[in-house]
């Protein structure tokens, strides 16, 4: 698809707070049926194919940067490279960082790329989401909806 917006939710909903991306995807689906949401992409080629030609792509992910659990990181990259500190803190840093860099080489970045990453507390398989992370997911959902409305 050319133009439009896409939300790309990274993370595994069976691994504790790693499920925050899919949780935000669920919340967005609940408030609007018209958002293109791609969930479960794990590798850099799949991420590039998911945002290819979009006017705006919003990536949601869990983070592990050492900040307090529930901290919401937001980076508006435009078409800039992924900052090093964010490449490290995304729980899918390698795939996302590689996708941003590779897409830059191939001129396949979306017109604008915004990353929301929620600081996680626990990646234990089977664990529930931490309360701070769930609360941050609500905030992120509202901010993303506003972002999509303005786009």
């Amino acid at each position: 698809m050319t133009g439009g917006v896409a939300v790309i939710a990274l993370g595994n909903r069976f691994r504790g707070d790693d499920g925050v991306g899919p949780l935000i995807a669920d919340r967005l689906r609940a408030v609007s049926s018209g958002i293109a949401i791609v969930e479960g992409v794990d590798d850099s080629l799949a991420i590039i194919n998911a945002w290819d030609d979009r006017a705006l792509a919003v990536v949601v992910d869990a983070a592990a940067s050492g900040a307090p659990p529930g901290t919401l990181h937001r980076r508006d990259l435009g078409r800039a490279p992924l900052p090093r500190e964010l490449a490290r803190c995304s729980s899918h840093g390698l795939g996302l960082a590689e996708a941003v860099e590779l897409a830059g080489v191939l001129d396949r970045l979306p017109a604008r790329l915004v990353i929301y990453a929620v600081e996680a507390a626990d990646f234990t398989p089977g664990a529930s989401l931490s309360p701070e992370v769930t609360a941050a997911a609500d905030v992120a959902t509202r901010q993303i909806m506003a972002e999509l409305t303005d786009a």
Partner: protein, 429 residues
């Protein structure tokens, strides 16, 4: 005697993270350990107590690269318990879905993970700067595989349309026909890719493997078959536990699978090709012959050619199935719960993926066991490394390390499903 160790803490371009340690004493390789840290068998435990109908959605989350394989082995095992036989259009749809997964997984590995080794680049980004057309080709071929999974699976990754007995919704002929132009382009691109990778320089390294793969009388194995080997094994999927066992290795939390009678074995593209090459589509067989790929192929570095040939086969097979497709009367067979034990095995991109389930009379899972391909190949990967390191012991450390890392990538180890984190380490003292 001089001792040395080659140690690599982070193994790049595998699906996950892992570590390799090779210890030398003088001119002898003393110790090879591929260290894999497997989380507790979380998903097997997680499935216990769940309704059997939840299984396809749960197991699809085990691996982001091969969710369809997990779903297909699981539904096959559960359908065996429930007495369901999925045939006709429903079986064809499952095969199409599986073609999409082979395409996505193999294309990612050939272009992004393995080709940089042969072309002398540290990774795909460096390769893309000099050869953007290669990565663009990979992107477009992978997109064609994605489209198949999206139409059939309901989502590009973690498909949600698969259920015990069939699908929640079957596609129309028009849904599938819309894919054919892109699939035909991608099939041609796949043929060119075989020619490209067959021209790479391959290290001179062969071993006498026992190849293990599914075998089916009418098709190149994907969804089902008997388990056969190059040493004469020929068993039903339900007999797997009589012939194979998983052993716990002290240096790894991953279990190592071995044949009880003979030890290490190899699953995956090389095994499938060597045991089933006559059943490749005529186009795939033809291109394999054109580039001189013959069975038995005992050089693990040439697995990249086999993967490329299998991509041709998968595109060809998907197009054949789409052409003959007539929607089923119902998207799924009705499942009535009953107690029992069932087994399923399919050919994931990396090799045999074996499942076993035990249900009670109300259809609740009482026990689950999952054996992924990477845990089956792990002892063989270590043996390759041992042989390769010994043969190339005079190489400078940096070159030897490169060769060892490349050798691990021959197997496209899916650390994210066999394990969670992997690192590589080689050292000499």
């Amino acid at each position: 005697m001089a001792r040395k160790t080659i140690k690599v803490d982070y193994l790049a371009r595998v699906e996950g993270e892992g570590a390799l340690h090779i210890g030398f004493e003088g001119d002898k390789v003393q110790d090879v350990r591929l260290e894999i840290f497997e989380p507790p068998r979380f998903f097997e435990a997680f499935l216990e107590g769940r309704a059997h109908g939840e299984t396809p959605d749960i197991v699809a989350r085990i691996c982001g690269i091969c969710p369809v394989a997990y779903q297909m082995s699981a539904v096959q095992a559960l359908e065996n318990i429930l007495g369901l036989r999925v045939t006709g259009a429903l079986r064809d749809l499952r095969r199409m879905l599986y073609c999409g997964e082979w395409i996505e997984s193999h294309v990612l590995h050939v272009f992004m993970l393995h080709a940089p080794d042969f072309l002398g680049y540290a990774g795909a980004i460096e390769m893309a700067r000099d050869h953007p057309e290669l990565v663009e080709r990979g992107l477009k071929m992978k997109k064609a595989g994605n489209a198949l999974i999206q139409v059939l699976g309901g989502r590009e990754i973690h498909p949600i349309n698969v259920r015990v007995g069939g699908f929640y919704k079957a596609p129309s002929r028009r849904d599938l026909a819309a894919l054919t132009d892109d699939l035909k382009w991608a099939r041609e691109a796949a043929v060119d890719t075989v020619r490209l990778v067959a021209g790479f320089d391959f290290p001179d390294f062969t071993r006498d493997y026992e190849f293990v793969a599914l075998q089916h009388p009418e098709e190149y194995p994907m969804n089902e078959g008997r388990i056969v080997s190059s040493a004469g094994l020929d068993i039903a999927v339900s007999e797997y536990e009589d012939h194979f066992e998983e052993r716990h290795m002290p240096h790894s939390t991953a279990l190592h699978s071995v044949l009880k009678a003979r030890g290490n074995y190899l699953v995956g593209p090389l095994a499938r090709f060597n045991l089933n090459h006559a059943q490749l589509s005529p186009l795939a067989r033809g291109i394999a012959a054109e580039v001189g790929l013959k069975a038995p192929c005992n050089n693990p570095f040439q697995s990249i050619i086999v993967r490329a040939v299998e991509v041709v086969h998968a595109f060809d097979e998907a197009l054949r199935l789409i052409e003959g497709y007539r929607p089923p009367e119902a998207p799924a067979l009705q499942a009535v719960p009953r107690a029992g034990v069932g087994h399923g095995a399919t050919e994931a991109p990396r090799g045999i993926l074996w499942h076993r389930y035990e249900l009670d009379e109300s259809g609740i899972i009482r026990a689950a066991r999952i054996v992924p391909p990477t845990s089956q190949n792990q002892p063989t990967i270590e043996d390759d490394l041992r042989g390769l390191a010994q043969k190339n012991i005079t190489l400078p450390d940096e070159q030897l390390q490169w060769l060892c890392e490349q050798s691990i990538r021959n197997y496209d180890p899916c650390i994210s499903c066999a394990t969670h984190f992997l690192k590589l380490d080689v050292s000499r003292t």
